[in-house]
Symmetry: C2
Subunit: 323 residues, 2 copies
């Protein structure tokens, strides 16, 4: 049991420094609106489109901040990580931009499109079983063999600080938001959001959204300590990982609530977003919209930032075409 209320020593100046460091390697992604979804929800929604981000996901922010913050001495042995996909892609991209090797341990069950994309960016993949236990064990071997710098997908202060640049941009793109909602897996995006907003907009509500079938963050939030599941099963494959001490710090101190949605609600919200907004996004990104539709009273009349976290989907295996 872990009830940690103190966290990594990060300030808003660290976030601004991260933004300056990574700017050459990332997009300032657009914010889209949809009159259809505004009418459907009674809220004003502002979609921060990190699916249009370099490497197809917000995770390139944290990965780039980690990679470009390394000394030359450390960088030359490369970086290494384990990831359910987008962090792997993003770290490979950032390492490629710096010209250093990137070692990735990822589940053999990860979408083929993600594996191909990691290799496309020059990442070196070692496959593990789809459980946190297997992943961490195999990773230790890889790291010992290479001496590469470990960049955790979300429990790393450099990564949290990089993800925090997303809400920093949102604040400059959208006036007077009442709330921000983002998916929560390990909690990197939500922690970065908390880091920025608790400093610059402390009255803004922060909602985390996750699948009913991977609701460890919701249960942790209510219990007051981290509850971790090994290998939960959900279509939102980016949200299967548990909170860790650094992300728990932000979740426990700054999150307004953790909301959940069923698999069918997630699939329906995903398909509806593709149909009406004409954007390709991952199942994970549909979880916030699914929870908004499940909790209409919570959002009606509010100006809400919705983080569309990534767009790396296996187009041959769309959830609504599976039997």
């Amino acid at each position: 049991m872990l009830d940690q209320r103190t966290g990594p020593d990060l300030t808003i100046e660290d976030v601004r420094a991260a933004h300056a460091r990574i700017k050459p390697y990332i997009h300032e992604t657009p914010v889209l609106t949809s009159s259809y979804f505004n009418e459907l929800t009674g809220a004003e929604l502002f979609f921060k489109c990190e699916n249009f981000q370099k490497a197809g996901a917000f995770k390139v922010r944290g990965a780039s901040n980690a990679v470009f913050g390394l000394s030359d001495e450390v960088a030359k042995k490369g970086v290494a990580t384990h990831s359910s996909g987008n962090h792997a892609l993003s770290l490979s991209y950032a390492a490629g931009r710096r010209g250093i090797p990137c070692h990735v341990v990822m589940p053999r069950t990860a979408p083929e499109a993600k594996k191909a994309a990691v290799r496309g960016y020059g990442g070196i993949i070692t496959e593990c079983e789809p459980s946190t236990t297997s992943r961490e064990a195999l990773f230790a071997e890889v790291q010992a063999a290479t001496g590469a710098e470990f960049v955790h997908p979300y429990n790393d202060p450099r990564v949290i600080c990089g993800q925090a640049t997303c809400s920093l941009e949102m604040l400059s793109q959208v006036d007077n938001m009442d709330a921000v909602i983002a998916p929560i897996g390990g909690g990197g995006m939500i922690s970065g959001t908390c880091l920025t907003l608790s400093n610059l907009a402390p009255d803004m509500e922060i909602y985390a959204a996750e699948p009913d079938q991977a609701d460890d963050a919701a249960r942790s939030f209510r219990a007051g300590h981290i509850i971790a599941d090994d290998a939960p099963n959900t279509i939102a494959d980016g949200l299967k990982v548990p909170l860790k001490e650094n992300t728990w710090h932000f979740v426990s101190n700054f999150v307004t609530d953790v909301l959940t949605a069923s698999e069918q609600e997630i699939i329906d919200a995903m398909k509806l977003t593709w149909e009406r907004m004409k954007i390709v996004m991952e199942p994970s990104c549909a979880v916030p919209m699914a929870t908004i539709l499940r909790n209409p009273d919570l959002f009606r009349g509010k100006r809400v930032g919705v983080v569309i976290t990534g767009g790396n989907v296996d187009l041959d295996k769309l959830p609504w075409t599976l039997g």
Copy 2:
């Protein structure tokens, strides 16, 4: 045989007036770029994203210009059209915004998503067989019964003038383009592009792109007169209709060349664009990219505007998931 070199009496001032008239009802759609596609093609590509347009397609420009240009006297009987889909949707949307009825004759084989969307905007559908002959016959009946104003999907100067506002926006969004490429079906978008560019940027190349399996525009272009096919078969369902005298005028006078691509090239380009640019677009929109990839020497080193014409896809029937 028709070899018409004189066309509708439209000026660039008509285009500017159309833009002012329709502005409250349309989006100024964004222009996206992709370092992946730039590297792949050796060109600098600027994607004008009309898939993000109101009603999901550029056709709302022409439809809105026609609907909002009507006198109250004419408007009160409503509007009517036949369409393979997006014009139907767009005219229904524009008529709904003006509060007048919209009668639509459309093929029974049109995607269900499009039919549902037409009805969602308040359009009244009469279904015909998937051939130009059947469509035009049934339409005459509907028009006689209602007295509604006919707005042709593309052969109407009001429609051409509305579509011309798309390239007007592109000129203000992208500097120094060398060429613009757009899909060609009936030729409404291409004609509008010709109208704007022949006046404001006469040195800019204008390429039209169509499927090998519906290459009537390419054959017309080479023959010097309109060649019309009845009911060609292609995945690019928006591009099955033939040129008419008003669009032939622009195609024959101002188009640089008409390029074609195979069904497989179109499907591959569509999937690749979804994967890399994270946008939902119709098969028709993939035809320009497919022809750019087939003719790399023609575009290498150039700054090329690519019109992504629409995003209304039946997500249950994606071409790469069909057997």
